[in-house]
């Protein structure tokens, strides 16, 4: 019995030593070409490898899903192109290290990501890897020779949503009151929010009545729906009848409270009327998949202008106020929709210009 145990232990040790050797020997051959290339790649087309970096998790985040979809569409059209999607997860402390790990492979011609924070997360590693190119959408950095960025004019989107909020709070709609107070629930503070979205929202509302005030609350994270619900309840108690939400996964808490207390919600970046019909009275949308598709096509063809920061406006076709959704039509009365459409048309046509401030 004792001998059997020793034999078993020796066998285990041998197996332990042999396994990695067998594994490595097989893996190293593959390691030379770990990304599968398409079979019909033209002989002379230079391979193009793209890393699509999702700062978080793509599933459940409309903008990140659009990022992946847009890149995939472009890559599918070019036989010499391939891409790898990497999700950085929710721990922001690990983002810089994971980004560096991706770049350190030296495998990618370009890295594309979407989030205002990503240029700054990537700043140190860009200097460590001077040949690496970065493309950032929904972010802004100008003058960095390795980076190209595309920033949405969030002042315009926020103004359109604020304008509708102003129309509703001064209206005789069922949930509106006479207090001239609107609110906004945000996940966290960041420059684009502080300098574009909140001022744009208030500016739009005050275009209806300069006496409208804004109740501003911070959840402190992107997921706590219970806390968002508590904040919404408190705001409604203080006279708020329209609440803007920029808090990701915490937003359903606001939807629930506003649904129960017959108030209204404004939503950014994605057509979300269907998430809370009758509660979401206005929704903006960013056409990120379209932008990412165009940018990746440019990158594959070597036409991206690295070193530049591009500002995108509603008139360019990447930002809209969604006014043709049946839920919007059924929730908001025709006279208010007509007034709102005038402003939307003015912004979409470029007749009304709202400047992006310095970030």
């Amino acid at each position: 019995m004792k001998g059997n145990k020793k034999l078993l232990a020796v066998a285990a040790i041998i197996l332990l030593l042999i396994t990695p050797v067998l594994v490595f020997s097989g893996g190293q051959q593959e390691a030379a070409a770990p990304t599968v290339e398409k079979e019909e790649a033209p002989a002379k087309a230079k391979p193009f490898k793209l890393a699509v970096v999702v700062p978080g998790v793509a599933a459940g985040s409309p903008l990140y899903e659009q990022l992946v979809a847009g890149a995939q569409k472009a890559v599918d059209e070019y036989p010499n192109a391939s891409m790898k999607v990497v999700e950085l997860g929710f721990n922001q402390a690990e983002w810089a290290e994971k980004m560096t790990s991706i770049v350190a492979t030296g495998m990618y011609d370009a890295v594309i990501s979407s989030n205002p924070s990503m240029p700054f997360v990537s700043m140190d590693l860009a200097s460590q890897f001077p040949d690496q190119k970065f493309i950032f959408v929904d972010a802004f950095i100008d003058g960095h020779p390795q980076m190209a960025s595309y920033l949405y004019n969030q002042v315009e989107q926020s103004y359109m949503l604020g304008h509708l909020a102003g129309l509703i709070t001064t209206s005789k709609m069922k949930g509106a009151n006479a207090d001239l107070k609107i609110g906004i629930v945000v996940a966290q503070e960041y420059p684009a929010l502080n300098k574009m979205m909140v001022p744009g929202f208030l500016q739009g509302a005050q275009a209806i009545n300069p006496g409208i005030t804004l109740d501003y609350r911070v959840v402190g994270n992107w997921y706590d729906a219970n806390k968002a619900a508590e904040l919404a309840n408190s705001m409604i108690d203080s006279g708020v009848d329209v609440i803007g939400v920029i808090c990701g996964g915490a937003a359903p808490g606001v939807f629930k409270v506003c649904g129960e207390r017959n108030k209204y919600v404004m939503y950014w970046d994605d057509n979300s009327y269907a998430k809370a019909p009758g509660v979401i009275a206005g929704s903006g949308a960013l056409h990120q998949s379209k932008l990412v598709y165009e940018v990746v096509v440019d990158a594959i063809n070597g036409m991206v202008d690295y070193g530049s920061g591009t500002k995108l406006h509603s008139r360019d076709g990447y930002i809209e106020f969604v006014s043709d959704d049946p839920n919007y039509i059924s929730t908001v009365p025709a006279d208010i929709r007509a007034k709102q459409q005038k402003v939307v048309d003015a912004i979409m046509s470029g007749e009304m210009i709202l400047k992006i401030p310095e970030l």
Binding site: A93, E97, A104
Partner: protein, 349 residues
């Protein structure tokens, strides 16, 4: 006779560890083959990824640093049969304390600032964990529950500081302002994050071993862990050894938080300590609560983490699959049953 017992113990540990490692690797291979479409790539990056270049290697070693500290903290507590389940909050609060000190002090403070930040973090962690030990001594409160509950409450308080008074509104991330460069630990293996603290941490582990196994106080501490009633009859102040190991354990956790901030992130991100406390328990379990063995155990843990990250970045598995593979490996590593199987059984008379 004593030599034979020692040899037998070493044999059991070596054989048990070998069998569990072999089983873990086989399970890992099976899982990768069934979950990955490019299993060869995945396996290659899982095993070899952490050592394929200086950056990965250095970062792997760097991620072992806080694990060594939390592993040491847990070992101290477990050796005395005190269960510190509040590691997460202690690391987090320690990191915040170090950050707050660095932000409050002028950059010119340099070494003084670093020392003060470390002391603040250690004291913070020690006080938090020490409370559970004190409650146990005073009112026989179950330290397993109290340390966990205090830690959970603290996480929200620390979150509030990071996203509130210490928040950096100019940053797009949920984080405090960056501490001045003068307070950063010196990097020793660029471009990786590995810093000079690794040398001190290894020395600390050796000192922890000497304290626990070569001093009178260490002996008393271990005795209390083995049998508190016997220790009481032997004249040992048992109450003291309910508080002291928790203070030391919390101090190690607080230090882990400080080292993470001063060495790696240079600012206190919301949730930066996620998993460090729990992983410390896994490390201590692998090391069988031996402070010296904590070093290879933490390195092994860091290797697995780096391998999982590498496979996720370079191959086709997702972060969830990588975590499942990791957890299966740990489940096997910490399974006592295999050791019991290898252990020679006493013959009945």
């Amino acid at each position: 006779m004593q030599v034979r017992i020692k040899r037998s113990g070493v044999f059991v540990s070596a054989a048990g560890l070998s069998i569990t490692l072999a089983a873990a690797f086989i399970v890992m291979l099976i899982m990768i083959f069934s979950l990955s479409e490019t299993p060869k790539d995945t396996i290659y990056y899982f095993f070899a990824g952490p050592v394929t270049n200086n950056y990965y290697l250095g970062n792997m070693l760097n991620s072992a640093i806080p694990l060594i500290l939390t592993g040491l903290g847990i070992s101290f507590a477990f050796r005395t049969s005190m269960f510190n389940l509040g590691g997460e909050g202690q690391v987090y609060a320690g990191g915040l304390a170090a950050t707050a000190v660095c932000l409050a002090m002028p950059a010119a403070a340099g070494f003084t600032g670093i020392s003060t930040a470390i002391i603040a973090a250690v004291v913070t962690g020690a006080v938090i964990a020490g409370m559970s030990g004190f409650f146990k001594m005073k009112w026989n409160t179950d330290e397993l529950i109290s340390s966990f509950l205090i830690s959970n409450a603290l996480i929200y308080i620390v979150d509030n500081f990071i996203t509130g008074v210490l928040d950096d509104p100019e940053n797009n991330l949920l984080t405090t302002k960056k501490i001045a460069e003068q307070f950063w630990f010196k990097k020793i293996y660029p471009p990786s994050n590995l810093d000079i603290s690794i040398f001190f941490i290894v020395i600390l582990a050796v000192l922890a071993y000497l304290y626990l196994f070569r001093t009178h106080q260490g002996y008393e501490m271990r005795m209390c862990g083995l049998n508190s009633e016997f220790s009481r009859y032997g004249g040992i102040n048992v109450g003291k050894y309910m508080v002291l190991p928790m203070l030391i354990s919390g101090g190690f956790h607080g230090l882990a938080g400080a080292v993470s901030v001063l060495g790696t992130s240079h600012q206190c991100y919301k949730g930066f300590s996620g998993g460090m406390g729990w992983n410390g328990i896994a490390v201590a379990l692998i090391a069988r609560n031996n402070p010296i063995a904590v070093i290879p155990a933490a390195l092994f843990f860091a290797y697995l983490e780096a391998g999982a990250k590498s496979a996720m970045i370079n191959a086709d598995i997702t972060i969830e699959i990588a975590s499942i593979v990791q957890s299966v490996v740990f489940f096997l590593i910490t399974a006592q049953a295999i050791y019991n199987f290898v252990k020679p059984r006493r013959r009945s008379a």
